[in-house]
Symmetry: C2
Subunit: 536 residues, 2 copies
């Protein structure tokens, strides 16, 4: 055999091997339309060009930029790229992102918008455990709460000498009288918003371990909850969430709502609004938003939203039973709203699924008795652990028949479970930016997403807690996943498959799902045409 | 079906699923001896205890310690742990590490030891491109070279006002006269050693991207090469390398030697020592060390050492042919020394294997003609790229029949290639600390090793460039791999399997390999017994 024939043999074997290696992928470009292939190539060119220009320059506050870098630091470069502009909005409504399948309602509205909503409510008060001063303003956390009319406070403010620790001050007063030496009302806003978000210093310096960043992360919920868990705000909050999602190209939502507290604070300042009222409000706003879209002739842009009933994995198995019964009762009254059940909270610190196995098995029986179907959609494997309880949650979630897996970050370690997910069509709700900020991965190039894609595991990209991370909508997550350091494999067509799969693996069924997919498909084609037109 | 029977069904299904999921692993504890199981449990207890104590405390210079943290920062905690002491030396010679299959000879001897060897050589000179001052001492790099007798310099020193940029100064003078305001001879040593190593600030701050850290990494070789590539030092260097490896429990070595330069500097200061002389020196020292071990009654502790012929992947395909012929000639003269062939250097920046495909295929033919067998042992996939040329090196390496893969960091992305490696027994030379310092992974918990283990890919742990990283021997790499954040899967028995596999997948064959494995096995049993005795 001569060398040239050897060469030819090698080239053919290589092409075959690469093809075999990628044969499980769901985003096979050869199945795409000519226009999509063209747009995909165009976007690869733009990505490569930007990798060599904007991502190579040293920026004053960003010492080592690179595509897929730490989100909180790289965000200001991201928003300047042409790639981002394409994903965000070539023409309204931009890239159709499909469904948002993994987000925690409490962290879905921009913190400054939430604060503005709150400032309209005279019932809302704030307190701190010590008077706010220039030295503690970086660490002391505000606690919010709506008070009954007769408990409204006329105290001056949190920075005032007369402030009595842990006493309530009206939100308006606290803001208006925030000491000017500290920065006045503007500094008040910064302080409150900062307490509801994670900043780059926290993520990458002061809290740069999984355990520490979760402490900060958890604290943001404690702060914002005081504002959100108030009936006069709740509908506006949901409306803002739905509408901003639609503007980002999201057409359908399954949001996790935390039902841990059995009541919300009512207009009267009393803790007396039960779960069913939350759903009544949710339903009403949902219908209003749909009607509004219809009026604007944009009915195809928004299919709807559902709720994944959630509580926190620190309750006892006994306590869980109450929530499971509650979930069934809500499902019976609002069958169109309850999409599934989940347990949330830090898997590394709180109880694993196996601790709840008895009530969870019992739940399945109770559903049969009640004639309802509430799929589990469990968080599992949101961890770097290897055979740890959090990692082992994957076994239990899958054995319990979970419809999808929230995160499943550690799934890539498990040959048998990867195979099961592919074969049974258990999609992963992958949250790239959340994973990075919560320190499971240092940057996108280290993220296991490419492994999942090559193994043909269905994936839906999700934002998780955009209000805390600043990744509002899904554009940032698609961007971070899409750039994967000038991946020669992943491209625009991959993002399309991820968006399509988010609808495919939602709890939508039958005609409803067909319609959602058809609408997405036509938006996608429009998006592709837009790229070819505007970016040629 | 009642709940309790459901519970039982779940428990059994769970045990079966976990077992199936781990069935490909090579380190099945159920196959271990009773003593090994006991020692494994004991070590797990120690690991868990230390994870909760020494790794939880805040250390003044280490803000967020955790097991498997950045090596250069965590090193000082590592060496204080009981776990490290066990791996290092329960009783001489401590844990038998098996073979060291991936290291670059130029970076295997402690930098300060190398400097001491150099200071004994009056021929060695040093120069810099600008006079060394307090402001440039952190950045200016020394260049070393042995000069012919008639070119010896009597210049005062590098910090002297009279220093003429790029002129040679004898090493002794340069050290002796290093300005006392800079710190004198001690500061000189620090400066030189710092130029041959990567420090934590560089790895985790100033050079914290793959591209930048490789620039620093490459510069260390340019500095040390001037000292090592000198015939009067070379044998001492090899001796130091072999002996320090033996002291760490390494019983066999396959070292990559970079043959890019066609000659070494001879005793006469001229570049005139050809490759065959390098091998003569290597062989002589090897025999001396073996004889020494025999004298000490430690013959079983050291089987020997071989060379993986390497050159750098920036040469042209035409130039490569010269090296391939050279490699064949050396193999014919030193069949017991040449173990394989490789191309080294930054895969992300330099030429991929496919660029050399023609000469590499030709090499196989030439070997047949010459009746020699020189396996490829290629670096491949030492990258975060996804479908990039460096990632694609894996396809070419495997198709070219590579015996093992150097690094293969990106292998976990490739379903078909993982399967091929397992089925064909292509072992991965995994270098945990190197990967972390060269920024492929931020810390051990993010390293893909657990994925490889669960997929049953054979792995040998390696140190890569211990002189640059400070991970002398293999103990540090075993430690970092072994702690894998209190992995509930990986344990002492895993480390044993890794050590055993390093011999199993070496180029040793037949009787030689059987002997190596048998010797290892008896050392391992002695090690296990030592743990049970001393750590109960």
């Amino acid at each position: 055999m001569t060398i040239s024939s050897d060469l030819e043999v090698h080239r053919q074997a290589r092409a075959t091997l690469i093809d075999e290696d990628r044969s499980l992928r769901r985003d096979r470009l050869e199945r795409a339309s000519d226009a999509e292939v063209k747009a995909d190539h165009l976007v690869r060119e733009i990505r490569a060009a930007e990798a060599a220009t904007i991502w190579q320059q040293e920026h004053p506050s960003i010492p080592h930029p690179f595509p897929g870098m730490e989100f909180l630091t790289g965000r200001e470069i991201i928003v300047k790229t042409r790639l981002f502009a394409i994903l965000r909005k070539v023409r309204i409504p931009g890239m159709p992102k499909g469904a948002l399948l993994h987000c925690h309602l409490d962290a879905t509205v921009n913190a400054s918008v939430l604060l503005k909503l709150a400032l309209k409510q005279p019932a809302l008060h704030v307190r701190v455990t010590e008077r706010v001063t220039s030295s503690n303003v970086g660490s002391v956390l505000p606690e919010f709460r709506a008070l009954p009319r007769n408990e409204y406070s006329d105290a001056l403010g949190l920075t005032d000498d007369s402030y009595e620790p842990s006493s309530w001050v009206s939100l308006t007063n606290a803001r208006k009288n925030f000491n000017s030496s500290l920065g006045g009302p503007e500094r008040f806003d910064e302080w409150v918003i900062g307490a509801m978000m994670i900043n780059p210093t926290e993520a990458y310096k002061t809290h740069n371990t999984i355990k520490k960043i979760w402490q900060k992360f958890t604290s943001t919920f404690l702060v914002s909850m005081g504002l959100i868990r108030f009936a006069p705000i709740f509908p506006d909050y949901i409306r803002e969430f739905l509408k901003s999602s639609i503007e980002d190209g999201i057409s359908y939502i399954e949001a996790r709502i935390n039902f841990l507290y059995k009541h919300m604070i009512g207009e009267d300042g009393k803790e007396n609004v039960p779960h069913r009222e939350w759903l009544v409000m949710f339903d009403r706003v949902l219908n209003e938003v749909k009607a509004e879209m219809k009026e604007q002739g944009r009915v195809g842009e928004f299919i709807g939203a559902r709720i994944i009933y959630s509580t926190i994995r620190f309750i006892t198995p006994e306590e869980l039973k109450w929530y499971l019964e509650d979930c069934i009762a809500l499902k019976k009254e609002f069958p169109h709203l309850i999409a599934g059940f989940d347990l949330v909270g830090d898997e590394n610190q709180l109880k694993p699924l196996i601790d709840y196995i008895e009530p969870l098995l019992w739940f399945r029986q109770r559903q049969k008795e009640e004639g309802v179907d509430i799929p589990f959609i469990f968080h599992a494997g949101e961890t770097l652990g290897d055979g740890s309880p959090a990692d082992n949650n994957l076994y239990d979630a899958i054995l319990l028949g979970t419809k999808r897996i929230g995160h499943g970050f550690s799934l890539v370690k498990h040959p048998k479970l990867i195979e099961t997910c592919r074969q049974k069509g258990i999609a992963l709700e992958v949250c790239p930016i959340s994973n990075e900020i919560l320190r499971l991965t240092s940057s996108m190039p280290m993220h296991p997403l490419p492994i999942l894609l090559n193994y043909g595991v269905p994936v839906a990209l999700c934002s998780d807690d955009p209000a805390v991370f600043g990744n509002m909508g899904l554009t940032f997550d698609f961007f971070q996943a899409g750039v994967l350091v000038a991946s020669e494999v992943t491209g625009l067509s991959t993002l399309g498959q991820l968006a399509r799969d988010s609808l495919e693996y939602s709890t939508l069924e039958g005609e409803e799902k067909r319609r959602a997919l058809a609408l997405w498909e036509s938006q996608w084609n429009r998006f592709i045409a837009g790229i070819l037109e505007e970016e040629h």
